[in-house]
């Protein structure tokens, strides 16, 4: 009964992963057989004159770090608000989960439009005469990464909110009542009861979100394609550009493999955690 699942997982997940690993030691063009080049693909990452790989690695960490921090803060605030006894609570929950439900491609194009010269942000800038010129968000090396980060945060926050709300709901009401009797204020209750209470959920959410944020390609491909002047080039995007448009599968695989140690640590802790909770 479990056969088909095991077969599919082996054939479509474990085998390809191992295949990518082997591929990363080969020079291989699309449609041709590979030749073994040892660690040359990895050495090349650091030898290139443009130093694009170290730059992409740095950008990946900056983008992921900033996005996780943003999602954490907004997610916590959003969950705290939705956890209160407000009218139409479920309607508001439904609305705030919308960015999570829609395809990432839709998110990306909607924001591309919002940031466009014909969009409302530049419209407001022109209307109120704030600046002399439009802001070309995704064509400006200084603005592209912050704008991209904002989109990633917007799309990723509902996942945090959802999990944090679940965590908050599991906190015993007696704790709050006891704290109240002891004279603890709202801020103190949040700090000493809510935060420690959601900590296990927060931990798992943060790790899941870190994996998905750092690996995310959709919004970057649509919004910037890595530009301008590689200002938004991340490791997964570089790997894509090398492997598919660049036709060098081996070099692309090597680039994607560089993040594996980082994922391995996260997956190790997550797997343990999720199986333990499973009991």
């Amino acid at each position: 009964m479990v056969g088909p699942v095991v077969l599919i997982v082996m054939a479509l997940l474990i085998y390809p992963f191992l295949d990518a690993f082997v591929l990363s030691f080969q020079e291989r063009f699309i449609g041709q057989t590979g030749t073994w080049v040892g660690v040359q693909n990895y050495v090349n990452l650091f030898n290139g004159t443009d130093q694009i790989f170290p730059k992409a690695l740095a950008i990946t960490f900056v983008l992921t770090g900033a996005a996780i921090l943003g999602k954490l803060i907004i997610g916590l605030a959003m969950a705290s608000v939705l956890n209160q006894d407000i009218p139409f609570k479920n309607v508001f929950r439904g609305i705030m989960f919308l960015p999570w439900a829609v395809p990432a491609v839709v998110t990306a194009y909607v924001w591309r439009f919002l940031f466009d010269t014909t969009g409302p942000i530049n419209g407001a800038i022109a209307e109120f005469g704030i600046l002399d010129d439009y802001l070309y968000f995704f064509n400006d090396a200084k603005l592209a990464l912050p704008a991209l980060t904002l989109v990633v945060i917007w799309a990723g926050t509902p996942f945090w909110t959802m999990n944090l709300l679940a965590g908050m709901a599991s906190i015993s009401q007696e704790l709050y009542e006891a704290a109240e009797i002891d004279g603890a204020g709202t801020a103190q209750r949040f700090w000493h009861i809510t935060l420690p209470g959601v900590q296990p959920v927060l931990f798992v959410t943060a790790m899941l979100s870190t994996i998905w944020t750092s690996a995310n390609l959709t919004q970057i491909i649509i919004l910037t394609g890595g530009g301008p002047n590689n200002a938004t080039m991340t490791v997964p995007l570089l790997s894509y550009l090398q492997a598919i448009p660049g036709h060098t599968l081996g070099a692309g695989a090597a680039i994607s493999m560089t993040l594996v140690p980082f994922y391995a640590i996260l997956v190790f802790f997550l797997t343990r955690r999720m199986l333990r909770q499973e009991g």
Binding site: V9, L12, F17, V110, T118, L208
Partner: protein, 291 residues
Amino acid sequence: MAVAVQTRGSTRAGRRTLGIGWIVATYILLAFFVLWTVIPFLWMFMASIKTNKEIYDPNFTILPKQVFLGHYNDLVVKGPFMIWLRNSTIVSLTSTLLALVLGSFGAYAITRLQFTGRKVIAVGLVGTYLLPASLLFIPLFQIIANLNLSDSIYGLMLVYPTFTLPFCTWLLMSYFKSIPLELEEAALIDGCGRVGVLFRIVLPLAAPALVVVALFSFTQGWNEFLYAFVFTSSQTTRTLTVGLTLMLGEDVFYWGKMMAGALITALPPVIMYTLAQRLVIRGLTVGGVKG
């Protein structure tokens, strides 16, 4: 374990003693978050019902001067949009069916049957579910090419289970565990086989979880971009998400049509999640994280 989320009683933390300042802050934040979430969608909708002249007018207004349905009409009547819509539907439905059938069998075997390697399979499922697509698309690209499935929706049907199946099996596992064993034991004693038990007892009881699994697989398949973008290349094999990217170069004035297309693409997942909000939130938080 599956009841943590929406079962709150009427006494909520902190409410009775929230000072007026906190209440005001709560509502200000609420208003901000609603606007933060809704404005992008609203802008998409408004652009989709404006004429190009209005969209590209430097002195544009928020509401359209008159409702214009030409962009929607163009999508339905002209070009390959309907083919993309069909492809997305076929691919998502196939991966849903696969996830439901294979996931149910797999989850039942892992939770109920004693065999060696059970633990390893459970670990493998979680581990592989967490493998991001960015690590897999290059080797999968080769595998699909070797199978002669490049540039066809069959290639996508083959790879979409990579992200739906592990998660769905995992989710069903946690649900099956909450079903009391006694029911099954009685049926087994009465001569009902394992498959019979699964179909007559476990699956009917797990109906809410099956709904979540179906929804999840369908929308994940529907929303998928990277694999479809890399593995297909002609107009007739694209799915909706990739099709949207092709609309960009089609015309000088593309935003109206693009936003109409984006809205149609977003509609199925939004409708499904709205209808099944409670179930989905519970299912996903059970599968991903448990409170």
